[in-house]
Structures are given as structure tokens and as C-alpha cells.
């Protein structure tokens, strides 16, 4: 309100309008003032909507965050007493206070390793093919639509597929390899979509610049497309992995055990060739299954174990998401167009 005299003064001087010859030349000025009042009224009304949405948005955000915070804090409080170093180095046990998550976190880590090794090359290659190589025709269109649909298929369906294909058909057993492959299938659409989005954000004039110098398709992909889209791809991969790490249904479907009191064979051995892939065939359990197992016990002491394991699992997910943000920041810093 304090500003109004100044803004009125910035209107054309009165002498200007009164040259129209009318003695009461202030008419125009008065009209201008009335119009200003009207415009301010319109702005005030429009801004009211701004405020209303601002508040509604804040509430929506607060509700979401509060729910998550409550869950997280509740879990942390319930499990706090069990979060000791021993909890990470002990196998599950019939006695709640001696039970730990060693086999679960090792299993989860190994399964995730297999998932990443399979999903990243396949997903990135498929994404690059669709963006850079695929001819634009109806076959490509159908493939694209189906990839989007695959991302929405319930995870238990992937479990059923894996049970039939990997466990029975290929006889891979109820192993880390089977679980890793299953989760890789599950996140493949996420990786493909993320790769395509990242590639599409590269402006066409950069691509044309490379082609104009005589580069082949693969040279353009290798020297430009891949390096410039790496940030987006890595982000997509990690977000996909963060989804896979909490998946329970497909893992149960392929028959992961709920009680594992041993570790898979070590990948590094003392004898030549020092690397062993025996662990791939090992039975295993993963974090969500361990949590599920403990929650279903009647003894409340086991519920504390479940809360503690849940806390660890959420931390793992958050760490992965944090890593994704950091990576994106690091890579984007060196790319500008």
C-alpha cells in the first residue's frame, strides 16, 4: 500500500493527457486510478489462490513426510536396543536376543550385485538401441509401449516367471543367481526408461555436431551419448536397485529360505584362479525375508529384531538414493550446453 503514490507518479504526467483539450482533463487520470484499483483487486484475488495452493501443497508434503518420519522413528525406537555390532555379525537364531542379520545382509548384497551386473548392461544397451539405432516404425512403437507397461507389472508375476523359467526350466535352483536374475528383470524397464530419458535430454545440435565431423553411430554413442547421459543413467539404475532391495514377493516365490545359518562360499579363494563363482549357486536369504520371518513370530523380542532390521534396510535404501543424488551432481557439473 505504501508504494501506491510512487507507482501512480510513474504514470504519464497529467499535462500529457489533458492536451486533449477538455478543461476537466483529470478525467483520464481519474480513470487511470480507477483502473489501477481494479487491476489490484484482480491481482489480490488471483494471489489468494496462490496462498491457498501453497498451504495445501505444504500440508500434502507434511503429511507424507510425517508418516514416513513416524514410521522411521518408531522402527528406530523399537529396534534401538538390538542395533549392536553383534546384530550384524550373528546368524539368525531361535533365541531372539542372539539372532542377527549376517546372512540377510550378505544375501541382499550379493543378490544386488548380480542384479546390477545383469540389469545395467542389458538395460543401458536396450535404451541406447531404442533411442539411437531403432528404426521409427510400428514395431518399435509396440516395444516402447510394452516397456512402459512392464514397469507396472506386479512383482509377484516376475516371481512366477522366474520360478518357471530359472528354477525349473534352467535348473538354476533357489539360488542367489536366480534371485539376482529375477530382480534384474524386475528393474530392467526402470533402467531402460531412465537411459532413454537421459539420452533424450542431450540436445540434437550436440549430436549433429558430432555426426557432422564424420563420426559413426557407435562413435557418437561412445564419445558423446554415453558420457553425457551417464549421470541420468546411474540415477535410474540406483533408484531401480533401491526398489529391488526391498522386494519380497518374487524372492519368496522362487523359494528363498527364511532360516539360513551359513554364508555362501567366498568369491575370493586362496588358490588359483583366486575367484570362485560357487556363491552364485548358494541358497540365501535377504533382508525383507528376514524381517518378514521375524514379524510372524509370536515372541515380541523377535519384533524388536524385525524393527532393527527394518531400520537397517531403510538406511540402505536412503544411502543408495543419496549416492544417486551425489553422482548426478558430480557428473552434471561437467556438462553444460
Amino acid at each position: 500500500m505504501k508504494q501506491s503514490p510512487r507507482s501512480l507518479r510513474s504514470l504519464p504526467p497529467r499535462g500529457h493527457v489533458s492536451t486533449f483539450g477538455r478543461p476537466g482533463g483529470t478525467d483520464m487520470a481519474r480513470m487511470a486510478r480507477k483502473d489501477i484499483g481494479e487491476i489490484r483487486g484482480i491481482i489480490a484475488r488471483a494471489k489468494r489462490l496462490d496462498v491457498i495452493f501453497g498451504v495445501a501443497g505444504l500440508l500434502a508434503l507434511g503429511l507424507g513426510l510425517l508418516t514416513f518420519a513416524t514410521l522411521f522413528v518408531d522402527m528406530a525406537l523399537d529396534g534401538y536396543s538390538r542395533l549392536t555390532p553383534d546384530f550384524f555379525t550373528e546368524f539368525p537364531s531361535r533365541r531372539a536376543e542372539r539372532a542377527g542379520i549376517l546372512s540377510a545382509w550378505v544375501g541382499t548384497t550379493l543378490v544386488m550385485l548380480v542384479t546390477a551386473c545383469v540389469a545395467v548392461p542389458l538395460g543401458v544397451a536396450a535404451g541406447i538401441y531404442l533411442e539411437e539405432y531403432a528404426p521409427r516404425n510400428w514395431v518399435t512403437d509396440i516395444i516402447e509401449i510394452n516397456i512402459a507397461n512392464l514397469a507396472g507389472v506386479p512383482s509377484i508375476i516376475y516371481g512366477l516367471l522366474a520360478l518357471g523359467l530359472f528354477v525349473y526350466e534352467f535348473s538354476l535352483g533357489q539360488s542367489i543367481l536366480t534371485a539376482g536374475l529375477t530382480l534384474a528383470l524386475l528393474i530392467l524397464p526402470v533402467v531402460i526408461v531412465a537411459t532413454r530419458e537421459a539420452i533424450r535430454s542431450i540436445p540434437s545440435h550436440i549430436r549433429e555436431g558430432a555426426y557432422a565431423l564424420g563420426a559413426t553411430k557407435w562413435q557418437v554413442v561412445q564419445h558423446h551419448i554415453l558420457p553425457y547421459s551417464m549421470g541420468g543413467i546411474m540415477t535410474g539404475v540406483i533408484i531401480g536397485m533401491a526398489r529391488a532391495i526391498g522386494e519380497t514377493a518374487p524372492i519368496i516365490t522362487i523359494g528363498a529360505l527364511t532360516f539360513i545359518a551359513f554364508l555362501p562360499a567366498s568369491p575370493v579363494t586362496g588358490t588359483f584362479p583366486f575367484l570362485s563363482f560357487e556363491w552364485l549357486q548358494s541358497p540365501f536369504t535377504v533382508m525383507p525375508i528376514q524381517i518378514f520371518n521375524w514379524t510372524s513370530r509370536p515372541d515380541p523380542n523377535f519384533h524388536a529384531n524385525a524393527a532393527a532390521a527394518g531400520f537397517v534396510l531403510v538406511l540402505m535404501t536412503l544411502t543408495m538414493n543419496g549416492l544417486a543424488i551425489w553422482l548426478r551432481y558430480r557428473i552434471r557439473r561437467n556438462i553444460k550446453w
Binding site: 545440435h205 555436431g209 558430432a210 564419445h223 561437467n334 550446453w337
Partner: protein, 263 residues
Amino acid sequence: MAEPKPDLDTLPLKAQASALDFYYGDFQALKKIDMPIYEKRVTALIGPSGCGKSTFLRCFNRMHDLYPGNRYVGEISLHPDNVNLLDKSVDPIEVRMRLSMVFQKPNPFPKTIFENVAYGLRVRGVNRRAILEEKVEEALRAAALWNEVKDRLQDMAFNLSGGQQQRLCIARALATEPEILLFDEPTSALDPIATASIEELITELKQRVTILIVTHNMQQAARVSDFTAYMYIGELVEFGWTDDIFIKPKNPQTEAYITGRFG
């Protein structure tokens, strides 16, 4: 340009478009274009937006092959070996290795200044450090950028100013010693000072390379070119010495455009 103009028939020809049609899908963007490109001369393509001048330019390095549904009819022959650049048996990559292009918007890669200029050479399999350094310096000197960047070759290219970026793109295009340098409105994203330096550069570059430039700016065409072609809706309306086109155009359409009554 006061000296008497040589007879066109005696000028060495670098390229020749003959009965060139071009289609974006069903849309015919170029119609029966016949036009010579003379060696070590600057030829400007002018005309209102949508007249097909950029489309014509992008035929020379087969940029249209990057997108589906584009079709060439007719030919552009490149001399002295008289190869038809548009022939299906000619690999577009081979064409792009012989002709370089500078784009409308400066488009340096998000890499170092050095790697930007060296990229064309790397694509050609040159990886010896000493050779790369020599060629990069030569190209940057030719693009009048060497003195400004010689101490920061490992800086990212996007830290340069817009005019410097465009000169970097010219250096990148020159490093591979192209037979023709294609400019697609190279100054439309630049301020007047940067524009002046690019124009000066173009005038110098014609000592070593044949230049074809698309421009929106008629004064620019008049300043930098030896020949001018006026195009309108996919057709070549008039081609001739730049002086003749600007002072005594034969076609009333050209005259209307040149004098600003239209376009």
C-alpha cells in the same frame, strides 16, 4: 571488389548442384536447383525463412540422412573427382569427412577446448599426441582463437563466451582440412562484435577453403560473399556475383527482397 570480375567459365568449380530436389516425407522442400560452387570463394544463400536455404546447405554433408523419411533426387557433384555426394553408394560419413559444418548455435561438446578441436581427428583415427597438438594449434590459429585460449586448452569449452565458442566450432571444423566449409547462419546467436569477428574470419578463410554460408542477414551476405544465391520457397530464383545481385538484380523478386520490400 573493384577489379574486373573474371569470366565465370574460367573459374575453377568446387561443386555443382544439378536438378536437385529434396523431400521431407511428402513435402518437397527443394525444387530443381542448379547452382555452381566456385573454389576458394564465399557463396551466400539468402532468402526468407522457410525458403529452403538451410535445407539446401544440409544436403551437402548429408545431414538429412540422420532423420527418417528424407529423400534426395538429382545430384551434387564434388570436384575434382566429380563424385555425386548424394548417391546412395556414397557413404554419408565419407561425405562428412570431406565437408565440415558450422552450426547456427555454437555447439561445442562438453569436453575440453583441446578435445573439441581434436575430435574430428580422433574420429579419423589420429591419436598421436604430437600430431594432435600441432593440428589443434594450427586450427585454433586459423580460427583466430589461439591467442585467447593457448594457456587454457584443458578448460571446458562451455566456459568460453558465445563468440569464442563459435570460433572454437570453426576451428573444430577446420582441423580436418575440409574441402568445403558449410556455415548455417553462424552469427544469428551472437552479438554484433562477435559477429564482426566471425565475418572477418570468413573473409580470411576463403584463402584456404571453399565456403558456403546461409544467412538471414543481407548486409552480411553483401559483406562476406563473392557470390549470392537468392532462394524462395524451395527454388533458386537468382544466382550471381554478389555485387550484381545487390546492385542490379535481374529478377524483380530478388530486387523486392534485397530492398526490403518483402521477406
